[in-house]
């Protein structure tokens, strides 16, 4: 049984991000892998050690502050689980809060959880539009796509990016990188949502979650023609593929 934890679905649910949960859950079920989704709200108990896949979405500024405060009380547990190989997908606001801080335009630094080595600086222009990113996992290079919409610009320290920007802005619109990856933590600015169209990535996360429980390492292939054509339409529109 895989346990999916959707953190703060009531707060971090901008831009259809719950599609990521839907995709992960369905792809388990289609393969007959038992799965359950737990929604955790402010102040409720989370057992990170029992969690197989943790999802953190994005929220508006006000909501972001509420959840950072709540997560801070669980920070040690979360950092421990991450070192232990917990599979995490953090999108947009959820991505930013794992880093050191978010510096607003007037210079105030809103501290993050400081679990991963990067910081975010507010930009004067929102980075909005379709985006294509080349990611590499399991030795394969995959072109993924989505929609980004963020004013924060993220700069990585001693941590790998998730991928290279092919079209769009990515982390900060300057260094050509998108997202961040540490152990089994995947951070990204891609909405769209990310997982349904980019089923290679979904299956990779699923595989990592199973491996962590030392379950079967082989996961059966599915008919991904719908996923492929939805992805292809956007890649083609961006002049790729």
């Amino acid at each position: 049984m895989l346990t999916v934890c959707h953190l703060y679905p009531g707060l971090l649910n901008l831009y259809g991000d719950r599609g990521n949960i839907i995709a992960f859950e369905r792809r388990c079920r289609w393969r007959g892998i038992p799965v359950k989704v737990e929604e955790v709200n402010l102040g409720e108990v989370i057992d990170f050690a029992r969690t197989d896949f943790l999802f953190l979405g994005g929220g508006s500024d006000r909501e972001q502050e509420l959840i950072t405060a709540d997560l801070r009380t669980r920070c040690t547990d979360l950092a421990g689980a991450i070192e232990d190989g917990l599979v995490v997908l953090a999108i947009c606001g959820g991505y930013q809060l794992l880093g050191h801080y978010y510096r607003t335009l007037d210079g105030t630094e809103i501290p993050g959880l400081g679990i991963l080595d990067f910081y975010t600086q507010a930009g004067d222009k929102r980075l909005i539009g379709n985006i294509a990113v080349e990611m590499e996992f399991d030795g394969r290079r995959i072109q993924t796509c989505g929609f980004e919409n963020h004013s924060g610009q993220t700069f990585l320290g001693d941590i790998k990016p998730l991928g290279k920007v092919l079209k769009g802005y990515g982390n900060n619109g300057r260094d050509g990188f998108e997202g961040a990856r540490h152990k089994n933590v995947f951070c990204s600015y891609l909405h769209g949502p990310l997982l349904p169209k980019n089923s290679h990535l979904t299956d990779y996360l699923l595989k990592l979650a199973l491996e962590r429980r030392s379950h079967k390492l082989f996961i059966e292939r599915l008919d991904d023609s719908f996923e492929e054509s939805a992805r292809r339409v956007m890649l083609r529109r961006m002049g790729l593929k």
């Binding site: 508006s60 349904p196 169209k197 939805a230 339409v233």
Partner: protein
């Protein structure tokens, strides 16, 4: 200045004519041209109209505005309306230009304008409305607006800057109800009690948390998304008592009866349309009527003859079967449309999804729509996905659990419409996003007959 105004109007009228001849709708472009030629066009024209009403909010703007236009026109007033949903500053300007004579004179009694939430601050400061109706705030095209909180706060600051404005506010939406504290006279409207039989709870509620203090709301019941009887345990902010309130709502096929209390008296209203949300629109019109001095009975009589605008649950007939066309543009509205297609008769459904600027370039919002309710709807025989993002729509349905054998992808709208009309069901529903709506309507008209309002009215009870 008059010369520049006349030049702007002439240029705009020529543009309008050319764009019509070329098959366009000419709803915004003439406004753009007029503003280019003379930036003061809108101010110069609006000054000549004694009363301006603005309708803003996420859903229900077009219907509310058109209903209100019907009410005022039936009282013999001459009104300017931006009918086509052209609700940015260019569309508003175009409506005035179209109404003006070539000399730049207007003889109208009122201007009724639906205004996009993001365009509201600029338009409202220019036209200085007498009355503002705010319908509701749902998530809509966020890539244009930034987040919902910001949109609402811009509207709030703008209302504080307009002297002598009177407000008509939805009491059931906490994001709207909070606007009452801008210090302008207001009327609240809402649904009285647990009118909607079933417990409606969707995970896409916008306003889970009090906009004033951040505590989570407690709801006695919901009507529709976050609309309902909310109360904040933190600061006590709660659904205010409404001056215009629906107490009974009976939905029948194609018509809705409601009993509406206006202050202390009850008025019966029959709307020639289904769709729960239309009750809200009617209440807003009733509320605006109070500020404009129109008696509730008069409003009620006019609402009976309301004809939906393009894509507001418009009815057609194809080979003897009913065909409905409805606009979908955000999760809250889409969920309401899904309620309609979950009715029991066998049917075929087309969903046309575009991602042009006016639709919102980010289509992530379709993942916030509760398509999962379709998983067990065996009476929906086929889902035809169309438009620029047809493939993504098909993917969404697949992940909602719809059997993939029933999903077909026809990005081309013409072939999508043809295909859905040939379905085996006894009813056809076409749902389209904003820029897909007119192409769908155009193709539909070539094949199916629109049900004229005369037919519609004959099926209604006569007013006593």
């Amino acid at each position: 200045m008059r010369i520049r105004l006349m030049a702007a109007i002439a240029a705009a009228k020529i543009t309008h004519y050319l764009s019509k001849t070329m098959g366009g709708r000419g709803s915004s472009l003439p406004g753009l041209i007029a503003l280019r030629v003379f930036p003061g066009t809108l101010e110069a024209l609006v000054r000549q109209v004694p009363c301006t009403v603005l309708v803003t909010g996420t859903n229900g703007k077009t219907t509310t505005n058109n209903m209100l236009a019907g009410v005022l026109e039936s009282s013999g007033l001459r009104v300017i309306v931006n009918r086509e949903g052209a609700n940015l500053i260019t569309g508003v300007t175009a409506a005035f230009v179209r109404a003006a004579g070539i000399g730049g004179r207007l003889k109208h009694d009122a201007a009724l304008l639906e205004v996009d939430e993001a365009a509201f601050p600029r338009v409202a400061e220019l036209v200085k409305p007498k009355v503002v109706i705010v319908t509701n705030f749902f998530r809509d095209q966020l890539d244009r607006y930034g987040e919902l909180d910001k949109t609402v706060s811009f509207i709030k600051t703008t209302l504080q800057k307009i002297p002598a404005v009177r407000l008509v506010l939805n009491a059931d939406d906490p994001l709207v109800a909070q606007l009452a504290d801008v210090g302008r006279p207001f009327i609240f409207y809402g649904l009285g009690n647990r009118i909607r039989g079933e417990e409606v709870q969707t995970p896409t509620r916008e306003a889970r948390f009090c906009p004033l203090c951040g505590e989570e709301f407690i709801y006695a019941y919901y009507h529709y998304s976050q609309l309902g009887a909310f109360r904040c345990p933190g600061c006590g902010f709660a659904r205010p008592p409404a001056d215009v309130e629906a107490h009974t709502v009976i939905a029948k096929k194609h018509i809705t009866h409601c009993g509406i209390r206006v202050k202390d008296s009850i008025t019966q209203v029959t709307l020639p349309t289904s769709g729960f949300y239309n009750v809200y629109n009617a209440l807003a019109v009733m509320g605006a009527g109070l500020w404009l001095g129109v008696e509730p009975d008069r409003v009620s009589a006019s609402l009976m003859t309301y004809v939906p605008a393009v894509g507001r649950l418009q009815r057609f007939v194809y080979k003897g079967r009913p065909v409905y066309l409805n606009l979908v543009k955000n999760p809250a509205g889409f969920n309401e449309s899904l309620n309609l297609i979950c009715s029991s008769e066998p049917k075929d459904v087309m969903i046309a999804l575009n991602d042009n600027h006016a639709d919102g370039r980010d289509i992530s919002w379709i993942w916030d729509v509760d398509f999962e309710t379709l998983e067990r709807q065996k009476q929906i025989l086929s889902y035809i996905c169309s438009g620029k993002r047809a493939e993504e729509m098909a993917l969404r349905l697949k992940y909602a659990g719809v059997p993939i054998g029933r999903i077909e992808v026809h990005p081309n709208i013409k072939s999508g419409v043809r295909r859905v009309l040939e379905g085996m069901g006894s009813v056809v529903y076409l749902l389209a996003t904003y820029t897909a709506l007119w192409p769908v309507d155009k193709v539909l008209r070539r094949h199916a007959m629109e049900v004229a309002d005369a037919d519609r009215l004959s099926s209604l009870p006569r007013p006593s």
